[in-house]
Amino acid sequence: MLKKFLMISLLMLVITGLIACGDESDNSEGDSAPSTGEERVLKVSYPTWWEEWFFDLRDEFEAENEGVTVELIPLHDDVTTKQAMMMQSADTSPDVAVEDTFIINSDVNAGYLSPMDDILNDWDEWDKFEETTKQGVTAAADGKIYGVPFSTDVQGLWYNKVLFEEAGLPVPFEPQSWEELLNAAEVIKENTGDVIPLFTYVTKATGEATSMRTFQVLYSGTGSSLYDFDENKWVVDETALTDTFEFIDSVFQNDLGPSLSVASNSQVATLLSEDLMMNNKVSMVIDGNWVAASWREGRATPWPEALDTWGFTLIPTQFGQEPGFTSMSGGWALSIPAHASEKDLAAEFIKMAVNEQQQFDYVRRTGDMTVRTDVAVKEEYLDQPISNYREAAEMLSYTNFRPAVDDYPTVSTFIQEVVESVASGQSSPDQAVQEFENGLKRIVGEENVINK
């Protein structure tokens, strides 16, 4: 009897479960179907680290446009992968997508994005955007523009003035070569307690940061480049590669870098700004100019005096050769997917998101650099507390960009793998060069590689 009762209740539970599920999917279908009446829905996908900013954008856009609902689609991680999958079909595609500029060219070739030239040519504010950032959103294949940039950054060397003074090193610190960097790290190691002398991103867990903020920052300092745009071929430059890997090797095999358990933490950027850097547990960090933003008022860990402790300086080229310093810049843009169903609304949303006020709001929140020339000259922008936009603007003149070609995303993850195997001691620098050459040829095809 009891058994029978249990069975029946179980059955009921399953059935109600199924019905509930059915209800849910019905609802969501109703939400996402293109509405026939006045109600219009704009779907915007965004990485969750910009949640507050996108909440504000949604509220403002809905207030300005009667009858429009902005449906936000949060992406917690693997942003580019998930977004690429969504953009494959009209059923799942958002109307506004957030694109890392390194993937724009590939996404254009995949047919995911729609060109914005017509929209932007009629827009009187488009000439207020920095020329260099416009290049980042222009496709190599057809010369058309596929996104509106909203952020860029530069990489530099953060150094801890307190620890430097304690170790007897000069402040301000202005290294002129890699050797001076390594020497400073050695001095720190010998003269201060339990401190990470030089932090760099070196694991697969830190993804693109490992490829761009460590490998490509260093590699650009050798004067070589990864891609030859005259010949349209990838470059294997043995000397430059060996020197780059040797730098990483000497940092990690001489215990000048972070332990691998710290470096492999995918949240290490937060760990750095909110703990290690605040508590003098690290003396140098190669990272973006935006690090200081996490110490501003209103963030999780405000620290008004941060810049008395942390200086931000240029990263030298290998031997100080011309032009003396180097940096890498990334960037983000807002794009309209090819399968978007509300392209006009999407264009309006994007224009609003990068207007003068919103752009200023954005850089104030994130510490990224502005892409608008009118914001860049504002005193309010340059003199923001806990920021270093004047130094950053200087770095921008030395900066380099990632090769925006089809194979870059795959090559980049491969670079992360090789860097990790050097940092963990699994490969010597010479082995790493060999691995790099073989892997590159395997990924892009032997005929697309030249040796220098």
């Binding site: 070739n109 691998l260 993850t413």
Partner: protein, 303 residues
Amino acid sequence: MSTENALTNKRIKNNNNSMLRKTFFFLLPSLVILLIFFIGPILMTFLFAFTNMSLTGAAAQNIEFVGFRNFVNMFQDPSFKSSFITTMVFLILSGIIGQQILGFLLAVLMQNKNKSFRKFVGGTVMAGWVTPEIIVAFTFVSFLHDGGTLNQFIGWFGFEPVSWLFTFPMVSVVVANIWKGSALSMLMFQSALDNIPDSVNEAAKIDGANRFQRMMRITIPMIKNTIFTNLVIITLGTLGVFTLIYTMTGGGPAKATSTLPIFMYEQAFVNYQLGYGTAISLVILVIGIVISLLYIKLLKTED
């Protein structure tokens, strides 16, 4: 007489036919599900493994058949070789040696013990098995990480903390997988051991066979089929372990715990090469089949 016979025969045949129809009818839902979720994807795997399908870039738009290029690339890729070796080490240590032998020992040692003891030990071992994989992974991460339970514990005895997941990555994931999976082996062996008639063991005892001889000559031969089934289940399960390793170590540090499923995931969804990733999954399938055939040959089971 004969007409009656023929009639009965016909009736039986009719009965058989309607039985067949009924069977088919009742099987239909599961057949449809199998077709949609299992056979369909497998066929598609075969198809896509020979293409350059990609998640982004020009190849996302124009999928082309590239013949065996994915497989040629794979066998030239040192990462594939190291992933293959890692997978075998993980399989042998955590699956074949760990889960199989530990499960067997647990079952043997629990035999003929009192009921509450059996319940307690059985329940403890089962805890790992009923816990979802992702939760097991997080449990082990918080147990093993730098400030985790294990380091706190050894700290009481004056030992320095160890970064277990980085110093002993393979050992860490192997222990986690054994903890998670041993219960299944234990259950299978328990029921197999219970099915051995006492009389056989008693007869051997009277003939003067010691414990070890009884184990080798009677127990193991009599549960051979269970050993085989268990081996196959564990092998196929362990070959596919992804969540546990990916959460605990992400396949790292470097490639120390990068098994084939992790390698596949990285190629397909991090490097955006879906065709290549599919080819790797096909190879995993083939490895599973080959190992199962090997077991059949080695154990020469009848069924």
